[in-house]
Symmetry: C2
Subunit: 261 residues, 2 copies
């Protein structure tokens, strides 16, 4: 585990850190990344505003500018994500550790809030999260929850799932509800079938975890949603982060509200 932001940035920039960033540098805001040509970016922007739970925008670059000064003065979206995915016509064509060869003056980078933020808050409030305890990537599922379309963008929501007791579910809703920039409150709990999930032990992304008899599966809107959407919408070119391998911001999370809990 890296000890500070500078060391972590160097490690990412040198292509050494290619793992998921769950639990890395707790307190720093992390984000999902979507990079699109400018003619697709406007539609995507509206799509995000239509669907703030899966797609909460926390940063956006100028056209062709790889910097994101609101999230970190030194940030460069071409080199600061541990692992990227390159998409052509909705197909994943490669995974790379920097996108210097792919960046051009017509691209716009979006950073969307991430569940790692509300997970930090939950852990700080004493709510145990099994996938973190077992050092797994969180389980994520495609659902039948329809998103609100915008122009060329449409699709269903991807959710992440964490098993919790009833008491912890209530507390988790209270806490994550206060973090709308990180997916907000859950979209569902209980029966997976209600949202089109056939088998909790077979997540489409991430790794499954055990659900104890006194626990419910609790489902949050997930930042992988845009990647599922991209496979259907098929823009000619797109870059995303690899699931779990987030952009780390200089900006710190603010959990002052937890003092009243």
């Amino acid at each position: 585990m890296t000890t500070n932001l500078q060391t972590f940035r160097q490690s990412v920039r040198q292509g050494e850190w290619t793992l998921h960033t769950s639990g890395v540098l707790p307190g720093h805001l992390q984000g999902n990344v979507v990079i699109l040509p400018s003619d697709w970016a406007q539609d995507f922007y509206q799509f995000c505003l239509n669907n703030p739970k899966p797609c909460p925008i926390i940063g956006m670059s100028e056209v062709g500018d790889p910097r994101l000064p609101a999230l970190g003065l030194d940030l460069d979206i071409r080199i600061d994500v541990p692992k990227y995915r390159i998409w052509q016509n909705g197909k994943l064509v490669s995974e790379v550790t920097d996108i210097k060869d792919y960046w051009n003056s017509n691209l716009v980078a979006f950073v969307l809030g991430c569940s790692f933020t509300f997970e930090s808050a939950l852990v700080r409030a004493g709510i145990p999260l099994r996938h973190l305890e077992h050092r797994k990537n969180v389980a994520m599922y495609n659902t039948t929850l329809a998103l609100k379309p915008s122009a060329r963008f449409w699709g269903n929501m991807v959710v992440s799932m964490r098993p919790l007791t009833v008491a912890d579910t209530i507390r988790a809703i209270e806490i994550s509800s206060r973090l709308p920039q990180a997916h907000g409150a859950p979209v569902h709990f209980g029966s997976p079938n209600d949202i089109g999930i056939a088998d909790l032990q077979n997540p489409e992304y991430g790794e499954s975890v055990e659900i104890l008899s006194n626990e419910l599966p609790v489902f949050w809107a997930c930042g992988v949603t845009p990647q599922q959407v991209l496979t259907q919408v098929k823009p000619p070119f797109c870059i995303t982060h690899a699931p779990g391998c987030m952009l780390l911001a200089d900006v710190q999370e603010n959990f002052d509200f937890l003092k009243s809990f």
Copy 2:
């Protein structure tokens, strides 16, 4: 239904309004009432601070002073509750429509926040509440949820129950969590047995409602809790409101936070 506060107050003061106050003058804060001799009031005050979910203090009189200026300049706790209960040694001895004959210079009046407040917020947010639709008093139950004792005060929590869909349960938790002065977020949902309720169709107070197959019972801490506690603690003398027949404050509820939902 009365049309304004002044008409309602007159009707209560003349002993004409002796019904429950659910849905009366929406927007006005309502409160549960507990009146105790001063030597018991200090313990009760600490007990409320120990148990803010069932007993959120929103007003408290000076010793022997029947006024509650923070809740209404004209309020008089002796005449402004539609129906009172007189308790001696933990036993309900009578119900009356004013307490002028019982008030004395040694009494302290407490006003505790009330579920009617969060119910107004839920209804305003478009969440249907069956007992309101059926013009019933809400169903309330004794539980095995132990309260945090203070000196002579101890006992278990009384809860109110509302059946909600999963989606509405999540929204109801988000909303009521922002109203700590009105019992805050639920204490439980789902299996009634988990909190010692044997039969939802037989509430200890109020009236039962149907629970549809796509709904869960959702349980909130209830302002009737102190009355249940008083039957065990048995102070020599005490006055409460009759369940559902609340004190109406001049003060308005503030639901500005709903704009962000």
